[in-house]
Symmetry: C2
Subunit: 444 residues, 2 copies
């Protein structure tokens, strides 16, 4: 037997966790009981699935592609799984594992045509561009790779930077049978995806996400786009990639704060629809923070499965998909309040989730113990559990009033309700609870 | 009985043409016999339809919506038909007729939400913006209309102008339940359509085309986009409108050259797939040039039906849709050669079609009489039948070498083959014929 991928952390008493391939494969159950009765309320419970009423097939499933590290390789922790995102003829696989960039075939089977444009940024290019180019061309001298290296940062996620991608594509005379590859975090993925959607009205597109945030969230689901000076992600397209390749090794160079930011979204999936996953995280947070490849691969796999299931059921966000925004309405107010870039997105979401859980507790919708567990897990991940001191009740209210989820003057929120792993998206709650939460978390 | 819509032109001996509602409803037959045998060759013939092999349903059909001019109205020429573009859940109607902008219900039934953004330009706004605003709001005080007036011209069909549309939409705080309305020619339609596709990843969209070119071609089929400094229409989306409203009265203010430019595309539909329509045009060209509302409505209807059928069968242009480019490869070389904006698009297409027909004749694929009929009809429409003198064989070859339809070094062309109304899209032709055609039409 190869060394257990978890051997390094088995000594920590808290962790009894099985590795990715050992964990029995499971599917989250989805319950839309109340959806038809009240369009404002979508209940996603841990109860028995009643998916027969749901047209879209749920098919986010995990299948091992490599049973064990190839003989002769050092790493005993190489684990790879495939999550399939089921969207009819736009379905695609997410490959997850260590050293996947050393498997040229995984990428090459999804390249259309002979010409590839890699879109990346000044931080990531020196780290991974050569490796990715090698993976794309290895054993295949037919393929030619161009690249465009954009400036790094959310503030460059705009039309001007997007034009640099088009300029490069046009100057290189790329035709419809080319492939765009996004190599980077969510900013690069969103921009490259939108460029691929719009260049010649749509070309082939592959995602290689290199932040945990991108691996567990932004690379899955097909939302692409750029910011407008007056608002985030206002211009874009729903556009699905041909595949997503997650090489967990890329996380080794990721700053700690960026890693933690991604973990906030991982915690979110557990809270809104996957109690077993939340429990797994409680036991394995240390392994995640230590970047144990198997723990990361498992967390990414379960996150992608959860997101893929939700997206399959509601690609264009008519209701269910909104539940992926637990903590995001409060979080968005924090991001706006402190100025974008001060707090990372996942940090704001972490504090926002605490506020949403607090409100759910005040409404009497969840057991008190859930609050403690949320606080514990986020603190363990070194994520903030309260908004910054500069946030006032007023600031929260102002931003929340213009949230996309306001309909006919009513702010709909994602709140926990029922046992761990169940939530609702609803505008039907006591306003007093919201007020109390805001006052509890703000000095004034 | 109301006065015949054709009473004013019945005296002209050439015209035996029935009005739109009198012409027996017909469907073009589509034959993809050779498509599977040779992917480079798509045959569209006038022969019996063998549509059973074709997945997409052909459903471009004409249904009268207003049998007669409403009592008490002056105009006896009001004719309205609906062409349905069948694209599954993205299907939509094209309303065609005189005074349709006086029928608020036609537009209002397709408005989603309460907020509308009309996109138009400095030439069209003074002519029709008030009328359209009235049509959108008449009897419906709930609806609020904003507008953005762009500079007029193909040279403004770019990212900078597109941003003005987004700026207006964002500043007006439009949300997902808004409707964009394109009021203008193909330039406005293409830009507004792309803006609608990308704003908040897609909002509702209505086309009110005001040039014949836009009414018979660009408003149908869902191609939207803008130009890149280095090439036309390189950035865009496939995005279908909620409806297209063609009020033939808007053509009364259109310059003669622009009208003729649109007629070139009308002639094209006859040549590639609809012999009966071509024959109708031969008899009714005078009525079209005189802007007879019924003749225009019929020509627009048949054109939209033909385009809609092709688009239903091949939305993303895998083969069949390419046949809509008869004359366009030669025409594009002319537009590039003389500089964009010197020749109108339809003018270049007219000369290009003559060249394609000449080449088909040299290949022995069509009867000699077809050439004469094409020359006659285009001359009657005052369209050019030869390229400008400045065009050389060299210039043609250079532009044609980089055409989108070049695959593996082989230039595929749309050529006529068989009886009137049949064409092929093929790279399988004698190179000598192409050379002879180029030399016949160029001084050097
Ligand atoms: N499309 C969606 O569904 C979706 C979902 C969530 C977030 N997003 C978007 O994603 C963006 C945030 O993504 P993000 O958190 O990945 O931010 P990011 O893309 O800005 O990456 C964070 C930082 O890490 C650097 N980096 C990336 N990979 C690295 C690596 N392997 N090693 C070292 N440094 C690395 C980046 O250069 C950057 O400086 C936002 O624009 C947000 O709107 C989109
Ligand atoms: N999307 C497609 O499938 C498709 C197909 C063909 C052409 N196109 C695009 O369409 C554009 C050409 O369209 P076009 O020929 O309509 O040109 P256009 O939009 O520039 O209009 C021609 C001129 O007529 C003016 N005009 C429009 N309506 C008028 C009216 N009723 N009265 C007086 N003036 C009026 C315009 O302001 C403009 O000056 C090109 O950009 C081309 O790429 C797109
Ligand atoms: Zn998020
Ligand atoms: Zn054309």
């Amino acid at each position: 037997m190869a060394a257990s991928p978890f051997s390094s952390i088995r000594s920590t008493p808290k962790i009894s966790a099985p590795a990715a391939l050992v964990v029995p494969r499971r599917r989250s159950s989805v319950d839309l009981r109340s959806a038809s009765a009240n369009p404002l309320r979508v209940q996603i419970g841990g109860a028995a699935a009643r998916t027969s009423r749901i047209r879209a097939r749920i098919a986010a499933s995990a299948t091992p592609v490599m049973e064990e590290a190839a003989a002769g390789k050092e790493s005993g922790s190489r684990v790879s799984t495939v999550v399939n995102v089921d969207l009819g003829n736009r379905s695609y696989p997410i490959y997850i594992g260590s050293s996947l960039l050393d498997e040229p075939d995984l990428l090459q089977r999804h390249v259309h045509g002979k010409r590839v444009l890699v879109v990346t940024n000044t931080t990531i290019a020196p780290l991974y561009l050569e490796k990715v180019t090698e993976a794309l061309t290895h054993g295949n001298s037919n393929i030619s790779v161009e690249s465009v290296i954009l400036p790094d940062g959310e503030k460059y996620k705009n039309m001007e930077t997007l034009m640099k991608v088009f300029d490069k594509a046009v100057e290189s005379r790329l035709d419809r049978r080319c492939t765009f590859v996004a190599l980077g975090g969510g900013v690069i993925g969103d921009m490259c995806g939108f460029a691929a959607a719009a260049f010649l009205r749509g070309v082939n597109f592959i995602q290689i996400p290199t932040t945990l945030m991108a691996q567990v969230d932004s690379s899955v689901g097909g939302k692409t786009g750029i910011n407008h000076p007056l608002g985030k992600n206002l211009i874009g397209a729903f556009y699905q990639p041909q595949c997503v390749l997650v090489d967990t090794d890329t996380l080794n160079t990721l700053p700690d704060r960026e890693l933690a930011s991604g973990i906030a979204e991982v915690v979110k999936y557990g809270l809104i629809r996957d109690a077993a996953f939340f429990e797994w995280q409680e036991k394995n947070m240390q392994a995640l923070l230590a970047r144990d490849p198997s723990a990361l691969a498992y967390a990414i796999k379960r996150s992608c499965e959860n997101k893929a299931e939700v997206v399959s059921l509601d690609e264009k966000e008519s209701g269910l998909r909104a539940t992926l925004n637990l903590g995001h309405t409060f979080g968005h107010a924090i991001e706006t309040g402190v100025g974008y870039g001060q707090w990372l997105h996942g940090e704001a979401v972490a504090a926002g989730m605490v506020m949403a859980v607090d409100m759910s507790r005040r409404l009497g919708w969840i057991d008190d113990t859930i609050m403690n567990r949320v606080l514990n897990i986020l603190q363990h991940a070194k994520l903030p559990i309260v908004p910054p001191e500069t946030m006032t009740v007023e600031k929260f209210k102002n931003t929340m009033a213009v949230d996309k989820k306001v309909a006919d003057g009513l702010l709909r929120l994602i709140l926990l309700k029922g046992p761990l792993g169940s939530c609702v998206f609803t505008g039907d709650y006591d306003r007093k609870a919201l007020d109390e939460t805001l006052h509890a978390f703000c000095k004034n």
